[in-house]
Amino acid sequence: MTRSADVTAASSPRTGPDSPRPASGPPAPPEPVEADGVKRPRRRREIPYALFLVPGGLLLLAVIIVPFVMNTALSLTEWEGVGTPEFVGLDNYTELARDTEFWASFRHNIAVTLAMAVIPTCIGLVLAAGLFDYIGKRFGPRTAAFLRACIYLPQVLPIAVAGIVWSWILAPEDGALNALLGAVGLEALQQDWLGDPRRALFSVMGVMVWVQIGFPLVIFMSGLQRVDPALYEAAEIDGASWWRRFWHVTIPQIRPEIFVALLWCTIASLKAFAFIYVLTKGGPGGATSVPSYYSFENFFDTTRVGYGAAVATVLALIIIALTVVFLRRQSKGEEG
């Protein structure tokens, strides 16, 4: 079970309104909960618990289930958003299979997943271990917490705003990055970072890494808190170097957190719409388009609604598959 210590702390009984601190575990004092002194009649006709699910369930039906079914149905039609959709069977999907633009957007998404999931997880792992086991021990937990907060900060930024910040820093003329390169005599490295089709994707990836690193870092640091310190001490006494401890103690111990971070970030990377919209609008010449953006383009720019729905459905299926993997793993963890 991968429940973190914090959850346990948060859900453990604080003090109920009437019972003065039920000491952890044993039966709570059977003193009456005299909320307002009124003696309640002993009705045992209780509201069924299922009734509590009704408001949430109806909302789920209206906002998620029905629209998702509609989207899937639309993916089997040709429709421009007005008039009646025309049923075309699987035509949209066969067209997708042959659509080079779609496949290109898919390849870009692999790069995006690298930048939003794989790289931040790897860097985050090293950083978390270093902060926890090195900085924290030698400079105190406050230093570690401060550094963690600095690295986490971009995570709180709306992606649209992060995009504005960066597209201005990366601007070809009078952008801060080019100015910085000029100032240190590296004019040769100045680029049109987002406008050059060969570089745009890498620039976008750089921004994503900057935004994303804080997320795995924070997860790993909290995961490390439940690792038995004796393991580290034993390794240290054995003379194991920092790297050896990292490989043989840290990584195996927080494997559940690594898995969760990687999976959540991968799912997020398939929904990279906001980054792309603000930074490049999929350009130049489709060089940074991802399926998430491609479906939006089909819906609202070229109004090929059926086709856009097919793209979105494929995206949804991939994410559902990833979620299933996550749930399987989760339930296995609970048993073992």
Partner: protein, 282 residues
């Protein structure tokens, strides 16, 4: 990553090399914020002659004020607060109701219901946005803040239900039993026992729902087309997309976009870094 030499004393000078590396990284993470601040208070002329890296000659706030007035930023802030605040409160309420039935009531088939809720949260909004857009138009909710509130209440509730259900399934049974013996019915148990006891978790959820909704982009972008309804993210994103802003105006807009976030971060720093573990590991 410097490796502490095995033979060296535990607190050798190498530790400062590691600390320096971390400080450099922290500075790199913060530099974009500093550059934004630096340039948002420059005059356009200063910017074009001295470039983006020079220190400002003085504090020039007209750019910020000008931008604020031009986009009616106060209105955007109000919209964002209204939408995110309503969503946070409503989603916490619905999450509690759902989780009560699933985690404490152990309703039949709860595993499948939970899976459904988690799926609803991870499902890409791309696969919902067009039908939602169409439906909103049909029922006359298109371009209203209410439509966005409804949609995100549902999306956040889906996550909250998943998280809270497992938290509540570990709720101490003795406390529940005691309340039942005293004759409290299910609703009373929920309101007088479960909610007060789980308040810490609920407040973490509240903060998260607020910030997540604040940061949302795709669905607000599609739904909120008129100036009067737009959120901060949407208004800034759309302006950016039109590429009409000059450099100082862009930095003014970036600063105004960043400031509320920094404020949240300062206020909720501990909740955020602690709470994310609640959110992710579950």
């Amino acid at each position: 990553m410097a490796t502490p030499q095995a033979g060296a004393r535990r607190y050798g000078p190498g530790r400062y090399a590691v600390l320096t590396a971390y400080l450099v990284l922290a500075v790199m993470m913060l530099v974009p914020f500093a550059i934004v601040l630096l340039n948002a208070i420059k005059t356009p002329r200063e910017y074009s002659t001295n470039g983006p890296l020079a220190l400002p000659e003085g504090v020039y706030l007209d750019g910020l004020i000008d931008f604020w007035q031009r986009v009616d930023y106060g209105e955007k802030l109000l919209n964002s607060v209204l939408i995110s605040g309503s969503v946070a409160v409503l989603a916490v309420v619905l999450s509690v109701l759902n989780a009560y039935a699933l985690g404490i009531g152990r309703v039949k088939g709860r595993m499948w219901i939970l899976v459904l809720f988690l799926m609803a949260n991870t499902l890409p909004q791309e696969a919902l946005v067009y039908p939602l857009y169409y439906l909103a138009k049909q029922v006359g909710l298109y371009d209203t803040r209410l439509s966005v509130i409804i949609v995100f209440t549902c999306i956040q509730t889906a996550f909250g239900t998943y998280l809270l259900s497992s938290v509540l399934s570990g709720f101490p049974r003795e406390i529940l039993e005691a309340a039942r013996i005293d004759g409290a019915n299910r609703l009373q148990v929920l309101l007088r026992v479960v909610v007060p006891v789980s308040r810490p978790t609920l407040s973490v959820l509240l903060v998260f729902f607020f910030i997540w909704t604040w940061n949302e982009f795709l669905i607000p972008l599609v739904f909120l087309v008129s100036n009067e309804t737009q959120t901060v993210s949407v208004a800034l994103g759309v302006l950016q997309g039109q590429r009409l802003m000059d450099a100082t105006m862009t930095s003014a807009s970036a600063l105004l976009g960043v400031l509320p976030t920094i404020a949240f971060f300062v206020i909720f720093q501990r909740t955020l870094t602690r709470g994310i573990t609640v959110g992710a590991i579950k």
